[in-house]
Amino acid sequence: MNHSPSDDSSIPVASRKIFVSLDTTARSRGSDKVAKQVESILNSQPELAATLVRNGSRGMFWLEPLLEINTPKGRVAYGPVKAEDVNDIINLHCFDDVIEHPLCLGLTEELPWFKSQQRLTFARVGIIDPIDVDDYISHGGFVGLTNAFAKTAQQIVDEVKESGLRGRGGAAFPTGIKWQTVLNEPEQQKYIVCNADEGDSGTFADRMLMEGDPLVLVEGMIIAGLSVGADQGYIYLRSEYPQAHDILNKAISNAKTAGYLGDNICGTEHNFHLEVRLGAGAYICGEETSLLESLEGKRGLVRAKPPLPAIEGLFGQPTVVNNVISLASVPYILSHGGDSYRDFGMGRSRGTLPIQLAGNIAQGGLVELAFGISLNELLQQYGNGCKSKRAMRSVQVGGPLGAYLPAEQWDTALDYEEFASIGAVLGHGGIVVFDDTVDMAAQARFAMEFCEVESCGKCTPCRIGAVRGVEVIDKILNNESDEQGRQDSVELLHDLCDTMEFGSLCAMGGMTPFPVRSALKYFPDDFLPQPSTQKAQ
């Protein structure tokens, strides 16, 4: 779409570009070294007249560092590239065609893994320069905002309701209804808060989006502000994401200069101010009320609901709290129409879900697809099996509070209700794969241990339950008592899980039993006394 094939056989000298990602994972695989090498070659060979663009990642992390060069046919990809390969590639290439090179993968957008996706929210990630406002606009950016200016607040909320968008943070609450509640509150100081405290293991969609296309999040937040009458936004970003922090700040500063943030945005009477605030390593601050406490400068203790944050949120004012992906999906909905978004998906799960393949997986990365694809298809077709080349044994979906799924459940379709029906959660779309060397009893113990470390400490079932949970699992595993004693401990663990699930104030204690119970139910052998250290061989 961005490179329409033309009759010219070469790219005009002025627009020769080489792309190397600045995404955290790409950098962890050495993309900075590659970029440095590209830069030094371009400096020493000015006749190439090409510029280096540090873009986001396409999400094919096993191919990073991915080097892309624009040609008349589209972008050609090379990967995984090492610094020493760069000279060869650039000097062979001439920016004209797909060339013969062992690392050449062909046209990026024709790669099957990429081509079969339905990228709506991630449409620009890995394509544009993340902090360049003009590049953003030339790829369809701010169309949604322009449309929003022509609508009333109620019409914007109606469009979001029409799209069927549900919160992508995990709880899947309809975004339009949340916005309606805030809009219905009388005119006063209101806030838009973006929950970018992406703490779940196995998830990185928020990070990739903020590093690859932060302006779509900015646009989504401005639209949210228009729709509920809020003029101040905060992005609560976790401190574990230094790269995203840097890019977000640059993007916000550029958007401000371009007139999209501040007073009288785009020459209208609307104001919208946006600020990034850093978390400080507390998982619980991903829970919305705890996040608000943290933004107010307090310990991240979960608040009792009611009142809902939509009515009494940040500093006691009506507040929209939405996940990064939810807000970043809004510009598409406003530019293409709610019904266009609604056409994707199945059942009550509408639109697309950015799915993250992680853990022991050969082809880890980000796949954006409409709801409804089966877990198996993702694991095999996209993930290509375990990285260790061993058999897959267990898959955890939805972060540390998600259930462990055995092979017989992998035909489940990715849909909020389908997952709920098997006692699992879809959460933020993170999928962590384990091979057959995994000790599921150790994983169950870790779930309790994690809750112990990360509990905010406010309510008793979570604060004390997690500690007791670790103790009981240890008792089962240490084989201290006879069979009767062991069975009593297992029963006690089930009882404790009930108390935590039904008695906890928030999802932290309420969902910790999910991984524990699923491990007990589907992998009971791992909890039996082990005759020797050899297992799962």
Binding site: K458, P461, G503, S504, L505
Partner: protein, 82 residues
């Protein structure tokens, strides 16, 4: 944004209630009345009243630590949950 409580101008939270009794959770502002039966006792309370409060009005004791008329809703001890 700071507001001060002035007993001369503002009515007490539980003005009409029996102050000798700690009902635990705040009253509902609703004008719609609903009738409920707890442990065989019939009572009529405004819609949105918590079970804890309704039970307290009906003189049924539900164990609680953190719910008090003297505190804002806190919800931490979970002693009342079954």
């Amino acid at each position: 944004m700071i507001t001060y409580y002035d007993p001369k101008t503002e009515p007490a939270v539980n003005q009409s209630a029996d102050l000798s009794k700690d009902l635990g959770t705040p009253p509902s502002k609703s004008t719609v009345q609903v009738s409920v039966q707890i442990d065989g006792v019939n009572i009529v309370v405004p819609e949105g009243t918590s079970v804890l409060r309704a039970a307290a009005i009906a003189d049924i004791n539900i164990p609680k630590l953190c719910a008090s008329d003297n505190l804002e809703a806190f919800g931490s001890c979970r002693l009342c949950a079954v």
